[in-house]
Point group: C2
Chain length 462, copies 2
């Protein structure tokens, strides 16, 4: 591994951080980032750097990193673009190994020479440099947080095992914000902007070895090195799933992508082929990205036979439609399951898949049905479609589902559509690693993608 | 119009209601429904009917409807199935013209004779009978509410102009609950269950003339009379859009539909052809139904040229992808618009469609861009993709968007993905009739459906 890639350790797990361009004014990036470290319970030393101030937010402020006598692992830079290359040079001299440049105004604004100079200075010292023109990094495990979105508007995720590498800070932040609201944890978040020194492949090389990361998400508009990306993906996917969202697939969009990040989107077909060849899981939209990520907390399905349990007959029918339209299969229940279920259904019910527990189903009836489905070796995945609105369903169903999911036997997916009460129930489940969906087709589309990936892993091992 | 269909007036707009099977026990349907009328501010007379009690919830309770001396417009029945036909006979004798039967245990449980008797008795008196085996009706304008889901779990919608006719109470209630949470109003909700007397076509015939209804949603597993449905749809769609969700499209699903409502799903291809021929707007999932409904509050687009405004470049790229993949068009901005926009963008921005307002865009920059897009006759619809998380965006943007939407010039769709702060912003917009979406593709898919419908209306008029 290249030394500057190795040095990402200092970006993600610093013991000491300098915020260069720190400011007492709340409208400034340098203020928001400094606050993140102070209020976010970061466990190391924090050094505000700005020649204009002696003290910021109660901390001693230094004119430059060279004035700090202690070691600094990570520098986060939020100063005007023109000042950045020389600041990076100073960082190098000081022995700082990790740098995040939030500032914009480089290649994406036509300032190519400035960006070259930045690159040269970082390379000279083997600095792991993220950016410029980016939102930077999050590591919830270490409370590292360079995101300059206010906390009241943008929820920070809890620690988890998903890493998100994104070319667009905006797209990345939307997904993370929504995920945080549902209690889905992340191991790392990297908005890499112009990818001047470290690009998506480099960052993924690091994450492939990262013990806190079990799965990688990638949002991409274009890459500067397609072959490198393909090779990297091929190496990672047998060990960790990679979900990729490629934007700029169409003509008008790829023009827009170019003006956004200066990345040549290239022909989408080439990307598509690369994703297929490398077994990356491709999604086409932020919502689909979120839905698929959500499912990674569950075990991989061993096959494509799906069991559906519901207390709303119509929702079962819609789920069956989605299963067949997505080329998964409705499982045939074993004889044992059929007779177990016959005992728990009221006389006016009938056993089948989808299994309609009838509108008067209580949590206990759900529990027995879920257990029977988990025990049936004819079923690879279980989708439970719940009407939390129904009078007979009480919140003990949440515990039942969470405990069933804890058995880690098969993937369990919950579908529940509704207003506040239903959304609160969904959030409770998601925060315990049980993925929830607002609509049968969203659940099934995610399951299809993960089932295909599981099949790839199985055929590889043979 | 058949007399029993006309009598739906008494179901939807009663001045007096009898709750038959009323109960003081909160676990009983007859209790929940009685409470709905008492606590929901229904403006007419309410008569609990139950020979077992003298008083329920402070109201005098009558042994049967014949003991009530005043006129009764609507009877809601929640007694055991076996008792229902004779109760309906009594209702007929009393001159009650509207009846909703919530009770289950008829044809769907194999009791075909009982259902025939129920039908005979209702027909004899020209009663407009909804059900049995259903959730019944809602009319938020008149506070009529037979839904037996507790209010803390299931939000009631505000008055609005959308009518929802659904074969499955569960599916219907999910959509209404979610819609209510987003402040989307309904004119009527009808869960018609077994359709013993009035089926989906009959109810739609009434709604076609209903002044409070501008658009109709239909959830359907199967119909007993396909030709009647096709004829009805053909008559309505030139005047009011009909959005239809047909469940039981696939083989396994149609089997499930049969055991759910006893409806023969028939071949899906026949339905699909009928929807296409009658210009009903077909959707394939509850989420898509919700998304498309949401857009009906906006004017119809005059064409398929879409303008996209965003402060998150990557989200603009994804929206452009969705537009081209759904066979809509990215509009070419007029020269006037291009020069107007050049003035409002910072020097490092560039004018285009998607229009990237850059991450530092404030509400004022948004306002100028939205105005320019609304004024440009090259643009038929406007999609605004907002990062509410961005520090420069404040809540004045909500007013700007709502006022722009109030001009009713073109459809305006908002895309915003994120956690609580973003969701609150979305709800504010939706409650003012501005449709919001969590993902670019969801917005574009809805826009495509509505654009096609608009095209149908235009070609008809020529």
């Amino acid at each position: 591994m290249r030394q500057d890639i190795k040095n990402l350790k200092y970006v993600f797990e610093p013991d000491s951080v300098a915020v260069i361009g720190a400011s007492p004014k709340s409208s400034k990036l340098g203020n928001v980032v400094l606050r993140n470290f102070l209020e976010g319970a970061f466990n190391g030393s924090v050094y505000p750097i700005n020649p204009k101030y002696k003290k910021i937010l109660g901390l001693k402020c230094y004119p430059s990193v060279s004035n700090v006598k202690k070691r600094i692992d990570l520098a986060i830079i939020a100063t005007p673009a023109l000042t950045v290359p020389s600041i990076v040079e100073e960082c190098g001299k000081k022995g700082i190994k990790g740098v995040v440049v939030l500032s914009a105004g480089f290649g994406e604004a036509g300032n190519y020479e400035l960006e070259k100079e930045l690159k040269k200075n970082a390379k000279k010292y083997n600095i792991a440099l993220i950016g410029p023109n980016c939102l930077g990094v999050l590591n919830p495990h270490k409370r590292v947080d360079s995101i300059f979105f206010p906390i009241y508007k943008f929820g920070r995720p809890k620690p988890g095992s998903i890493a998100f590498v994104t070319q667009s800070g905006g797209v990345g932040s939307c997904v993370v914000d929504l995920a945080s609201d549902f209690g889905i944890g992340f191991s790392k978040f990297v908005s890499y902007g112009n990818a001047t020194c470290l690009d998506e492949s480099d960052i993924m090389e690091y994450l492939a070895k990262d013990k806190e990361t079990d799965a990688i998400l990638l949002y991409l508009e274009g890459t500067k090195d397609g072959k490198k990306l393909l090779d990297r993906l091929k190496k990672i996917t047998p060990k960790k799933p990679v979900i990729v969202l490629k934007a700029g697939r169409s003509k008008g969009a790829s023009k827009a992508a170019y003006s956004h990040t200066g990345a040549l989107a290239g022909t989408y077909l080439a990307y598509k082929a690369a994703f297929r060849q490398s077994k990356a899981i491709e999604v086409s939209d932020v919502a689909e990205l979120f839905q698929t990520v959500n499912l990674l907390s569950q075990p991989l399905p061993k096959g494509k036979r799906v069991g559906v349990i519901t207390d709303g007959g119509g929702l079962g029918v819609l789920t069956a439609d989605a299963i067949e339209e997505n080329e998964l299969e409705l499982a045939s229940l074993s004889k044992k399951t059929t007779s177990r279920l016959a005992e728990i259904l009221p006389s006016y019910g009938s056993v089948g898949n989808p299994l309609d527990l009838i509108a008067d189903a209580d949590a206990e009836r759900y529990k027995k049905a879920i257990t029977a489905f988990l025990d049936d070796s004819n079923i690879d995945s279980v989708i439970v479609v719940v009407l939390f609105q129904a009078p007979a369903v009480d919140s003990s169903l949440l515990d039942i589902i969470i405990r069933a999911s804890d058995r880690k036997k098969k993937p369990i997916l919950i579908v529940a559509m509704g207003g506040e009460y239903t959304i609160d129930s969904r959030k409770a489940l998601d925060s315990y690693g049980v993925p929830t969906y607002v609509s049968p087709s969203y659940a099934v589309e995610a399951l299809k993608k993960v089932t295909d990936y599981s099949f790839f892993l199985k055929t590889r091992k043979r």
